[in-house]
Homo-oligomer: 221 residues x 2
């Protein structure tokens, strides 16, 4: 019993800090995207490949969440996006206070769009608001089409799903229809995209989707 109570209190505290992050980002006119998905679903490669389609349109940056290493932040810096690494020290998800520290370390006047690449995890990351305006779950076709029913909170709590690694579809038994149907059943408003970050197929459309969502947000303010 004790454990459950503590977990709820921690989540409540997390959500309060997430709201503070959101206010800070709003004040700086920054649209924030929380990228989620299993380990190896292709989140970092997606960011690398979207960079050319974002440049000249918005000033983008990345907050990288990992248990250990700065491998992903180094990859992101190489394609020319400013990035900041959060190491959770073994923690399985980012929490809003970690993002708050990262925001304090950044010059927010330098950004229009901020990605948070969460720790690779299809469970624990779903429960933690960070200050994002948009969530995108990256699902690799190699993971199998049963992931929506097997990990429902992740798909219930997202705005969008990107079916990634479309180049591997011919070599797997992955039903795109099944994912569409089951994701919409859990979450009627979810938007579903498809791409291959490896080959670049569909990546411009993903960048345009995110830019359009930012535009909608700006106009609705």
């Amino acid at each position: 019993m004790k454990k459950v109570v503590v977990a709820k209190e921690i989540l409540k505290a997390n959500d309060a800090i997430a709201r503070e992050n959101l206010s800070k980002l709003d004040a700086a006119n920054i649209f924030c995207v929380n990228l989620l998905g299993s380990p190896g679903s292709g989140k970092t490669t997606l960011l690398e490949k979207m960079t050319p389609f974002l440049k000249g349109q918005v000033r983008a940056g990345v907050i990288e969440g990992d248990l250990a290493t700065s491998e992903d932040a180094d990859r992101i810096e190489k394609v020319g996006l400013p990035s900041i690494q959060i190491n959770t020290g073994g923690g399985c998800h980012l929490e809003a206070n970690m993002v708050a520290n990262a925001l304090d370390a950044l010059d927010l006047s330098q950004f229009d769009l901020l990605f948070i690449e969460n720790v690779g995890n299809l469970v624990c990351t779903a429960g933690h608001q960070l200050g994002e305006r948009l969530r995108m779950v990256v699902l690799s076709s190699a993971e199998g089409d049963d992931k929506v029913v097997k990990y429902p909170p992740m798909f219930q709590k997202t705005n969008s799903v990107l079916i990634n690694k479309a180049d591997l579809l011919p070599y797997t038994e992955f039903s795109i229809e099944r994912v569409h149907e089951e994701a919409r059943r859990l979450n009627p408003d979810v938007e579903i995209l498809q791409a291959s970050a490896r080959t670049g197929e569909g990546i411009e459309e993903v960048a345009e989707f995110i830019l359009a969502k930012r535009q909608e947000w700006l106009e609705a303010r």
Copy 2:
């Protein structure tokens, strides 16, 4: 601070229950394997495909861990292995007390080998002993070869790693050498296997590896 203390106490309690599970399994001459890995790494398909190589050698059963649904347990029953489903109700990993309940529900005199298929998660499952004698981490080639350095606790705490989805190696940039090198650096005793559960390539060898580990354990008692 409070959070850390509670987490440590919970882990200590978990390990005590895991030791009780181990005693119960030992008394029943059951060798228990904890199968771990990311969502969609291929754990259930591996169990399905190993079944023909286990039959006639040992009486095997499966404890299936999932957030929701009995999809995996249904798949396992279809290939003729008795199985029992644990739904964690959103929890991201199995804990020893859940396995203790499953053991109470099984007739242990009916088994020589028990697999526990953990929740798909490359982080939180690593910290929880369940009563296993052998851990096997299933890593899909489509997940990328950077997973060992990025998720070190999982690879430090395992006895073996199975590089799965070998059939996708030609379509990915996955360096088997990198995984071998980095896994051995973290964990010099780790044993690394390679297979494709989808095509069946290498699966007999995985089954033989597990049977040999069981035999070693029986002889050392």
